[in-house]
């Protein structure tokens, strides 16, 4: 029997050379007369170990990493010589993948299959409990109607993972209760936040989970058309999703009469075009309609007047991909994870200046400190950490004093911070926080949709004022002006782009004023 060798094909594994490794493994095993079956799985999300090569053995899958092409001949040699028992015989040997502490200590519900299965194989998906949630949803439709599905999602306590943390079940209820000829399910796969890659990883490692979640959403509210609005920066996810959708059609999971149930659901991927604001749900809908991505005033809510003016669910990738496990195992099962009003698990993304970056899925409640220092192993540079930005470009920079905050929507709000999409970006002491505050305004200036003045003009002024502060031009007055400007943006903006840009800026004023005012107060940057 050929030996099964797994080499991931997700964006990060590829960015670290996985294709070159796969080619070398293919060539070298042929040379060595080893019969190998190379499977391009998704990544487990242990990005600091990519390319992570796994070999299937009787004991389970054994991991090696990070593997470079020049490591391959030695690896193949070890494999030939020691077969199943090459324990410790290779410097890159990591033991059983499932026992690597970074992975073993996680609570994977949504990402349970990521990196385990071949994302191109529906059979592999089915063999790992795929479509169990859909089966249950179809049974619920027969016994309790669509309301039965919505109730299960409500019961799970799932809140949207895209940032605003709105209860998913309640959104679905509104769409279910709004009568219309046509309704839509729109998956927000715009994932524009820096430091986030959970959506991408899910789509690349386990695309059928998202497809299953969207079918269930369609059944729950009576929508037979779905769109995945995917950012154009993710070509690999585009390729994998389209392939998976094609397979799902061929196997009768999409289209008319899904698995003989008489239900109908169509699904299509639509690409964005490099505009951060198109992650905002109303702007996303405008973009899907073929327009400039200008934010719409709410109300009306998209749940009532969404895509083409019809009732629409807009949910994040992770929200939708969490639905299959909720249906398969029951709302209670999911709800039993977490703390307070934050139920279930949160896929945290460890990024920036971090030694062991990657995806960590855990029940809400873990502290930022444990994530960054236990899982993450501290900074990549080895210098002390200075600031941690959580929740993307509109999220606050947290100083050391706040690193023991548990990951929970309310606990973060109490610190004037946000969890957002769960992106954690670590900065070491070489960072100049004044520059980070300036960048927050600059980013808003570049990405503002332009519809309202506080954001469009405020961000331009914001950059200017911070520049003045940095160059010690009337520092005190300009700092006051900056605070005023933040108030105006926060209170006067139509959406959270302008409304939240003050979060990172204010966190710098509050916690890192030394950097902002350095030469005047005589504070040298602490190294």
């Amino acid at each position: 029997m050929p030996v099964k060798i797994y080499i991931p094909c997700d964006t990060t594994a590829l960015a670290m050379g996985a294709d070159e490794v796969a080619k070398t493994v293919e060539f070298q095993s042929r040379e060595a007369g080893l019969s190998a079956d190379i499977i391009r799985n998704g990544s487990r999300g242990l990005f600091y170990l990519e390319p992570l090569v796994e070999v299937a053995t009787a004991r389970g899958r054994i991991a090696f990493g990070p593997v470079e092409p020049e490591d391959v001949p030695g690896l193949i040699e070890t494999l030939m010589e020691h077969g199943d028992v090459f324990e410790g015989k290779h410097p890159l040997y990591l033991g059983l993948t499932e026992e690597i502490p970074y992975l073993a200590r996680q609570q994977r519900l949504t990402f349970a299959r990521a990196g385990i299965i071949d994302p191109f194989s529906i059979a592999d998906y089915q063999a790992h409990d795929g479509f169990e949630g859909l089966k249950r949803a179809l049974a619920l439709i027969d016994s309790a109607g669509p309301q039965g599905i919505v109730d299960e999602v409500k019961n799970s306590g799932l809140r949207g993972r895209g940032g605003a943390a709105f209860p998913t079940g309640i959104k679905w209820q509104t769409v279910l209760d709004t009568p219309a000829e046509q309704k839509y399910i729109v998956c927000n796969a715009d994932e524009g936040d820096s430091g986030t890659f959970a959506d991408r990883l899910l789509m690349e490692a386990d695309p059928f989970t998202l497809i299953e979640g969207m079918i269930i959403a369609g059944l729950a509210v009576g929508a037979n058309q779905g769109y995945i609005y995917l950012r154009s920066e993710y070509p690999q996810a585009d390729k994998i999703l389209n392939q998976a959708i094609k397979t799902a059609y061929a196997q009768g999971y999409l289209g008319k009469n899904i698995q003989g149930s008489g239900q109908h659901f169509d699904l299509e991927v639509r690409l964005g075009a490099g505009a951060y604001i198109c992650g905002e749900e109303t702007s996303l809908l405008e973009s899907l309609e073929g327009k400039r991505g200008l934010v719409r005033a709410k109300p009306p809510l998209p749940a009532i007047e969404g895509l083409f003016g019809l009732p629409t669910i807009v949910n994040n990738v992770i929200s939708l991909a969490s639905v299959p496990v909720i249906l398969a195992k029951g709302g209670d099962y999911y709800r039993d994870y977490g703390m307070g009003r934050s139920r279930g698990t949160l896929p945290v993304q460890l990024a920036g200046n971090i030694k062991q970056g990657g995806l960590v899925e855990l029940a809400f409640g873990e502290t930022l400190h444990n994530l960054v220092f236990d899982f993450g192993g501290g900074t990549f540079s080895g210098k002390p950490a200075k600031a941690i930005q959580v929740g993307g470009p509109l999220g606050a920079y947290l100083p050391q004093a706040q690193w023991h905050t548990p990951l929970d929507y309310e606990a973060f709000a109490a610190n004037n911070a946000v969890l957002g999409h769960g992106g954690v970006v670590v900065f070491d002491t070489s960072v100049d926080m004044a520059k980070q505050a300036r960048f927050a305004m600059e980013f808003c200036k570049i990405e503002s949709c332009g519809k309202c003045t506080p954001c469009r003009i405020g961000s331009v002024r914001g950059v200017e004022v911070i520049d003045k502060i940095i160059s010690h031009d009337n520092q005190e007055q300009n700092l006051e002006l900056l605070n005023d400007l933040c108030d105006t943006m926060e209170l006067g903006s139509l959406c959270a782009m302008g409304g939240m840009t003050p979060y990172p800026v204010r966190s710098v004023i509050e916690h890192f004023s030394g950097d902002l005012l350095k030469t005047v107060t005589g504070n040298e940057q602490q190294e």
Binding site: T11, T12, L14, A15, M16, F47, Y48, E50, E191, G192, D193, S194, G195, T196, F197, R200, S232, E233, Y234, P235, Q236, R270, L271, G272, A273, G274, A275, Y276, S287, L288, E289, G290, K291, R292, G293, F308, Q349, L350, A351, G352, N353, I354, G357, G358, F380, Q389, P393, G423, V425, V426, F427, D428, V431, Q436, F439, F443, I446, E447
Partner: protein, 170 residues
């Protein structure tokens, strides 16, 4: 406005015809044209507008709103450097300066030899292994000035070879 070549004209007309029945067809049409031609020639705007029964100003307004769409022809390689926070934390600012000076161009410009066009990008989803750079469809992690030079050397050799191949064929 320069006129479309015959081949460009065919691509534009076919894209519009293939996709105009889609709900919200404009972005799929623009993507299709840019994927095939590398950019959206200005002369294509009137054809798209006519096909979708919209005004040229509306089409232009959409193209200009999105950073991804371009109205000018890019060089052989589109290089995008991630400028977002996670990459900043890994020194992307210095990398940007280094790459710009190596190529002798700033963002939104194309090198004199037409080999490279440079664009900023805000996150490629590779934030655990930054700084990140994208060349064409491919993302590269842990990028450094030195690694970038090697990459460019490889890519230019490839283009020269490809160029010769094309000459032979014609």
């Amino acid at each position: 406005m320069t006129k479309l070549s015959e081949q460009q004209y065919q691509v534009v007309v076919k894209s519009v015809a293939d996709k105009k029945a889609l709900p919200g067809a404009l972005l799929p049409i623009l993507h299709d044209i840019q994927d095939q031609l590398g950019y959206i020639p200005k002369a294509a705007i009137d054809i798209i507008a006519a096909g979708l029964k919209q005004t040229a100003a509306e089409i232009y307004g959409v193209i200009s709103f999105y950073h991804h769409f371009r109205l000018d022809k890019p060089g052989n390689h589109l290089v995008e450097i991630c400028r977002a926070e996670a990459c900043q934390a890994m020194g992307s600012e210095a990398l940007e300066q280094e790459i710009k000076s190596k190529l002798g161009i700033d963002y939104h410009q194309t090198s004199k030899d037409n080999n490279v066009s440079l664009e900023p990008v805000y996150c490629l989803g590779n934030c655990a292994c930054g700084p990140s750079v994208k060349v064409g469809e491919r993302v590269y992690g842990r990028m450094s000035g030195e690694k970038f030079s090697q990459l460019m050397d490889k890519l230019s050799t490839y283009v020269v070879e490809l160029g010769q191949g094309e000459n032979h064929a014609s």
